[in-house]
């Protein structure tokens, strides 16, 4: 997908992507746990910087936004509990349970240092 994005950009054009990724130092067990929660796309051992450069981008920079990621994930979980009855009525039991389970698992993975989030910027040469 990154290669496709590079081709669509004019020379000198800019790419920015905000990406959740598994900390490269995560244990095999944590890696599998995070991959189950976040889906297969986040299950790469390769750093995003490496992926972007491999796709032909230059000037790759990362701003780590894991602290804000944690704050946002916690707000999702806390306010979902706060508005539980209204959300249950809007989404139904199954969807509410799925979303809360996903958000709670994501929060736990951030709190334990397994998941991180970065905003990456790069340009097409």
């Amino acid at each position: 997908m990154l290669r496709a994005c590079r081709k669509l950009l004019k020379p000198g054009g800019r790419l920015a992507c905000a990406t959740i990724y598994i900390d490269p130092s995560a244990s095999d067990r944590d890696y599998r746990r995070a991959a189950r929660v976040r889906g297969p796309g986040s299950a790469t051992r390769r750093a995003m910087t490496e992926l972007l450069e491999g796709a032909g981008f230059v000037g790759v920079r990362e701003r780590d936004v894991t602290t804000a990621f944690l704050r946002t994930a916690r707000a999702y979980v806390d306010t979902s509990a706060q508005f539980r009855d209204e959300l249950l009525a809007a989404w139904g039991d199954e969807l509410f349970a799925d979303r809360l389970r996903d958000r709670t698992a994501t929060l736990e993975l951030i709190e334990t240092g397994v998941l991180r989030r970065g905003i990456f910027a790069a340009r097409r040469p």
Binding site: L8, R14, A18, T19, G41, A73, A75
Partner: protein
Amino acid sequence: MRRTTGEEQRTIERFRPRYGGALGRAERAVERAAIGGNVGANGYTTVAQADSLVRLLGLRRGVRLLDVGCGRGYPGVYLARASGCSLVGSDLPLASLGSALARARASRPLARRAEFVAASAIHLPFRPASFDAVVHTDLLC
């Protein structure tokens, strides 16, 4: 017209529940607390981070931006409104594109410079070198 692959269909099904009808009071309250505004967000990109994307991408009037996996129009519609750039948003679930279009049409000047295309992130149906900037947020790479 290219047929949807099995993988694309699974993606559509996975995200279908996230793009239901209009948001209620509780959903808007959750989004405000988590993201910092009611902007059509589903993921983890805060409004403050979207503001930083305007600068990172050099967005301004005359710039053509592609938002890959635009969901309900965030951050693409927000970025186009904030910067004056033109926008193409792409995603697979049609329900999400309908919401994104409605968000863009809510602002008359933006409605004329925003369009949306049903396409997967792998098979983007655009000419090479046709965008000044590309953004994607919380999309699987």
